[in-house]
Structure formats: structure tokens, C-alpha cells
Symmetry: C2
Subunit: 190 residues, 2 copies
Amino acid sequence: MLGYKEATSIIRFRLSEKRFKHSLRMADVARDLAEYYGVDVEKTYITGLLHDYAKGIPGDQLLAIAEENGLIEDEIERYIPDVLHAPVGAYLLKEELGIEDDAILNAVRFHTLGSLHMSEMDKIIYLADMIEPGRDFPGMERLKCLAFRNLDQGMLVGSQSTLKYCIDQGRIIHPKTVLIRNHFLMLLWG
Amino acid sequence: MLGYKEATSIIRFRLSEKRFKHSLRMADVARDLAEYYGVDVEKTYITGLLHDYAKGIPGDQLLAIAEENGLIEDEIERYIPDVLHAPVGAYLLKEELGIEDDAILNAVRFHTLGSLHMSEMDKIIYLADMIEPGRDFPGMERLKCLAFRNLDQGMLVGSQSTLKYCIDQGRIIHPKTVLIRNHFLMLLWG
């Protein structure tokens, strides 16, 4: 497996200073969550470092790569191509770095929109991305507490934060965000 | 066409006192909006009176009627059968009262979730239902102003209010609410 030093060099080269620092902070939080939940710490940390591997790619190129490789899930992604940095990132990690580990690839693939079938590591990566100390949004401290109490409650509140953010900012809501939110809501009903 | 006196008697018989009064207030607001926008006032008023025709039917019966008549659009409706009072209402208005006017039937059908193809009357019925004086929710006064300024802006903010309400109340969000909200958001981008 790729070491964390190598992963750090790779993303330093690929991302802006701001996003590079976000990735370092996010990986730290992901590691803390992995320790707390007894998930593979090293793998989670490396995944945190690499999660935004495709974030520096402009929207039109993300769209082109996604189209060529069948990575478009919903036509609305043509209007919000930035969300494609997650599946394109997973694709490029495999193609360019030779990463074959599905645990890593899925966590990167699902880190923005989530999925109906998320492992604990997938949830940790999704949530760490939202609660790393550089983030600031209403309810962030509550989400941070929840993430360390129950990953599914964290997913519910995290996906709801995304919905509220899109509403308040006048951004398109990806239908999957609602699907995931409803999924965790019903899951928690038991 | 059914007269407003007859429509009033019908819903007085079918609905609880509370919902009957809501329907009267809602029809008044719908009439005001119809006057303002130059839409058929009488038809809009009658539609306002009749919009909750199926609202007194319990969830399991709504589901049964919807299933028998192919009115289920999304499997999630099995978990929130109350939303079916809109399409079931339109179905029963045709079956039981012999109403054939698609303008009326569509406005009833779309009054809870909206549609991608809404007439001005459809939007008026959707919005009047949210802003009648008996309603009270954050942003209601703003929505009332908007409804009398621009129906599409009203639809955007109205559907967003529904999303926020579902989030805050821990209710399932129907995927169509997001579809409609994105639709009006993009429409207003021009």
C-alpha cells in the first residue's frame, strides 16, 4: 500500500495550498474517528489524504473523464460537475496510482454524496470531510459531537447540513443527497 | 361546472372542521392570487375548496386506492402515504363527482409535491395551500409576499420551505420535492 509520506507528496503536488491543508486536517480527523470506531487507522488516514485527489481538476474536464468512463449517475451532474471529483478521484487513484483496494476507492467515491451501502470507513471519510477544524457552518459543532457518538446519526445530520447549505446558497441539490438522508433517517427508526 | 356552494357542502361533509376551515381560507387566498395573475377566478376558487377532497382518508386506504389505480409514482410513498391525498383526491373528484376538467384535476394532483409542468393555476393552488392565514412557519410572510410577486419564485421558496420543514421535523423528504425545487431554481437562472 501507498505510504502516507508518498500520499502526502502526491496531493501536495496536485492540490492548491488551501486544499492540501484541508486534506491534512481531514486525514487527521479521519484517523481519530478510525481509532475511536476500531477501523483500520492507517488505511483511513491514507484515504483521508487522497480523498480530494481529483478536486483540482476543472468541471469541464471532470465531466469529460466521467462521461468517457461511465461515471455519471444522474443527468443533473452536468450542471454541478464539481460533485464528480469524488467518483473521478476514485477512478484516477486506480488508473494513475494503481490503487486496487475497494475500501479506499469506495470511500473516495462516496465521500461527497454518500451511498446506500456505506462501510464504517466510508462514513468516517464522509464525516471527517465535513467536521475537520477548517470547516465552519451552522451546526458544525453538533455534527462533530454526533460523529464521535454514532456514525449513522452523523450521516443523517451531515446529509441534512448539505441540504440546508444548498438551499441557503441557491445551489442545485443532488437527488442522491435526499436519498441518503432518507435512508439514514429510516435506518435510525430501527 | 360544480358551483362553489355545492363544493362547499361536499367538503364540509368530507373533512374535519379544522380542515374544512383551512380549505375555505385556502380557497380565498387562491381566488386573490387568481385575480392578481388574471387566472380563471371561479375555477381557481372551486379548486381551492376541493383540493383536500381526499385528505380525510386514512393512509392505508389512500395507499390501497393509489395502488389499485396506478397512482404511485415513487416507492417512498408507501412510507408517507399521506402525500397520496393529492393524486387520490384528483382521481376521486373524477370518479365520484364526475369532474373532467384537467385544469382542476391537475391542480389538485400537484398541490402537495408540485410537478415539472405546472400551469399558473397549479402554482396558485400549491402556494395558496402554504400561505393561507391559518399557516405559520418560518419564512411564511416572505413566501406570501413572493407568491404575489412571482409564482416561480414562490414555487422555489415554497418547495424549499417544505424541505426545511421535513428536515426539522424528521420527516421523509419525497424526492420530487427536490426535483421541483431544482427545476424552479434553474428556471429562475434564465
